[in-house]
């Protein structure tokens, strides 16, 4: 059952990710990005990472994919949806992506024996990871969490500052 679900999720992830990078229409890309992120959340569920499942659904599917849709709404044009989606660097990009994939897949396949050595048994079903994650981010990772909070605040202020109109012409602030 887990195997079937994994291959189901994996197939949808790959197809929708290819759709994100290949489709002309940015709206379709944004919707497929939401689908892909939701399926990754499903994989987190299969890996019994329940807190990450919730975080992925709330942050990625609920916030980021929706944010992309809003930006497409604000600065997309229908005429631009029919222009060609890839630039002249596409062959080089394909080469770079295939090289990266070959390297990563080679290393992963090479490490098959080592992976089999450390294969864990089935983790204790039903045990929630929320307690251990909470202990970790308030214990050894407390400084990191404070820094992440500061980065979030900085991003908030930066986004407000960057999108603010300074005058009637709509130019961004120069100084």
């Amino acid at each position: 059952m887990m195997q079937v679900l994994f291959y189901f999720f994996a197939a949808i992830i790959l197809v929708s990710a290819l759709g994100v990078v290949l489709l002309k229409n940015v709206v379709h890309s944004a919707l497929l990005l939401g689908l892909c992120l939701a399926m990754v959340a499903g994989l987190y569920g299969l890996l019994s990472a329940d807190f990450l499942f919730a975080a992925q659904v709330l942050i990625y599917v609920g916030a980021i994919a929706l944010l992309f849709l809003f930006v497409v709404l604000l600065c997309g044009r229908r005429a631009e949806f029919s222009e060609k989606p890839l630039n002249q660097a596409a062959p080089a990009g394909l080469l770079a992506a295939l090289t990266a994939l070959a390297l990563l897949a080679g290393v992963i396949v090479q490490s098959k024996a080592a992976l089999r050595l450390i294969m864990p048994g089935p983790s204790q079903a039903g045990a929630s990871t929320i307690v251990s994650i909470g202990n970790a981010i308030l214990g050894p990772f407390a400084v990191g969490m404070e820094i992440v909070g500061f980065i979030l605040l900085t991003a908030l202020v930066g986004a407000v500052l960057l999108t603010k109109r300074s005058d009637k012409t709509g130019d961004v602030k120069e100084e």
Binding site: L14, V40, L104, A155
Partner: protein, 101 residues
């Protein structure tokens, strides 16, 4: 062998993201491809956590930090896209040549 397939899937997701980030013309799609790369890395982190550290969830904490940083990156990136769109009236990356020598 299923852990292997998880790792291969995350590598494939990362490679698709690399392709999209390099070769899309629309800058919104470039940011979307970067999100795909983030997701490949996060999936790898969670799988490695399950393999190497089955009792706890430290790798999941790392993935959580990564998700947060990705959210910051998306917000600032999209704000920049909006600002540039107001100035140049286009979303195609080849028109953004302010720093071209």
């Amino acid at each position: 062998m299923e852990p292997l397939h998880y790792l291969l899937l995350s590598a494939a997701l990362f490679a698709i993201g690399v392709f999209g980030a390099v070769s899309r013309r629309n800058i919104i799609s470039v940011l979307m491809a970067i999100e795909l790369m983030f997701n490949g890395a996060n999936l790898n982190l969670v799988m490695a956590d399950k393999l190497l550290h089955p009792a706890g969830s430290l790798g999941q904490v790392m993935a959580l930090f990564s998700i947060t940083i990705a959210a910051c990156e998306a917000v600032v990136g999209l704000a920049l896209v909006l600002a540039i769109y107001r100035k140049y009236d286009t979303v195609f990356v080849e028109k953004f040549n302010l720093l071209k020598g």
